[in-house]
């Protein structure tokens, strides 16, 4: 049984709203405070990427269950330029300045599952999942 929610990611304000929604869902799913914080932080990174680099898009949240384990799955979709060099984008980019680096690699480190699908000229979809 998956309950899903979809919200737009078009403006800065949407990033804030997305964070709040993820926080609420994470609490409802029973994630610990640390796990909530990690997931919301990852969502914030990915939402920002979608707004700033993806030209806007959507975030989809679904409660998921695997046997007895419960969790949340988030998808961030945009129809933007896509990511030409995924390996580079996933490298830690904090000190090398702004850009995709921190957001993607950071988010990946915080959550249990991370998937990236992208096509230059078509768009990007990042899906993350975090379990209780």
């Amino acid at each position: 049984m998956d309950k899903a929610n979809e919200v737009p990611l078009l403006s800065e304000q949407d990033i804030v709203l997305a964070r709040q929604l993820v926080r609420k869902k994470a609490q409802e799913t029973g994630l610990s405070l640390i796990d909530q914080t990690k997931l919301v932080t990852a969502a914030s990174e990915l939402a920002r990427n979608t707004v700033v680099y993806g030209g806007g898009g959507t975030m989809n949240i679904a409660e998921v269950a695997r046997g007895i384990r419960r969790g949340l799955r988030l998808s961030f979709r945009d129809q933007g330029p896509g990511i030409p060099d995924v390996e580079l984008a996933l490298k830690d980019g904090w000190t090398s300045g702004t850009g995709l680096g921190m957001g993607l690699s950071g988010a990946k480190r915080l959550v249990h599952e991370f998937e990236l699908a992208t096509k230059v000229g078509e768009g990007t979809c990042v899906t993350i999942a975090h379990w209780k």
Binding site: M1, G30, I34, I68
Partner: protein, 283 residues
């Protein structure tokens, strides 16, 4: 499907529904004598009524497959019932009884419905059995999940208790770690130390690993993360009780302690901590 309609027919008819409810509630009361008083009669009446309402709505979807979307509300309801029973300390048998004691009243009504048509009766009873069995199974699974959550939470609390954070002095907390450190334990411990620091405003933490026989890469990394997090918060950290063996392991593993202060034993660590905090007081 005929069986779906027949079962729905029983629920949709007010008089027959009442008969089923009365019978069901009587069965429930008999089945769980020990539970009397834990769930009030009003609450039980509400739960049984709501279940049959939801069942009726789901049956209108035409399918008896409880994994389908039409049955989502029924599944949710069952999960809530299971969770609350589990938390209240009921047994899984008591919880499953909620569904299974509905069989007899429902079959009675289906019997009246079928009249002399033996085949129709057999089909309907079979369909109803399959339905209630799968709902019962769903209930038990949800019950077990809640129980496992409760056990896990109790284990975490035990872990916290077995690694208490101790106040050695004003502004100095110590965390004596004993036994084998595994990843889960270290994380729980890390959280409780950071929380205590935030609560008490203590500026210095001493992580004492005298009682820890071995340290592997994962644990060494966790210790390092704890120290880094402490510093980010604005507190200082000393690791004490580092035995020669552990020092060797850390070097061999290539873990960079990044300037973390270490001392051979807790007493030395305390002396250093007092010195550092004492210097502030002197001003």
């Amino acid at each position: 499907m005929a069986a779906t309609e027949s079962i729905h027919g029983v629920i949709a008819d007010e008089a027959r529904l009442k008969s089923v409810l009365d019978s069901w509630r009587r069965n429930l009361a008999l089945a769980s004598q020990s539970a009397a008083g834990r769930i009030s009669e009003e609450e039980l009446e509400r739960q049984t009524r709501e279940f049959l309402d939801l069942l009726g709505t789901a049956l209108r979807g035409g399918s008896l497959d409880i994994a389908g979307p039409a049955w989502a509300q029924v599944r949710d309801f069952m999960e809530k019932i299971s969770e609350s029973r589990a938390l209240q300390g009921f047994s899984s048998a008591d919880t499953a009884a909620f569904v299974f004691s509905l069989k007899q009243p429902l079959f009675e009504q289906l019997g009246l419905d079928a009249g002399n048509d033996a085949k129709r009766l057999a089909d309907n009873v079979w369909a109803a059995t399959l339905l209630l069995d799968s709902l019962g199974l769903h209930t038990v699974k949800a019950f077990q999940r809640t129980r496992e959550d409760v056990i896990r939470r109790q284990q975490e609390e035990l872990l916290e208790l077995s690694t208490p954070v101790v106040k050695l002095w004003e502004g100095i907390l110590a965390l004596p770690m004993v036994g084998t450190l595994d990843s889960a334990r270290t994380q729980v411990v890390m959280e409780s130390l950071l929380n205590k620091i935030a609560e008490t405003g203590a500026g210095m933490a001493i992580l004492d690993i005298t009682g820890v026989p071995t340290v592997d890469t994962l644990v060494a990394q966790h210790l390092l993360k704890t120290v880094t997090a402490l510093r980010l918060m604005g507190a200082e950290c000393i690791i004490s009780g580092v035995r020669p063996q552990i020092a060797q392991t850390i070097v061999h593993l290539g873990v960079d302690l990044q300037g973390v202060t270490t001392r051979a034993n807790l007493a030395d660590a305390l002396a250093l901590a007092l010195q550092q905090t004492g210097a502030k007081l002197a001003n």
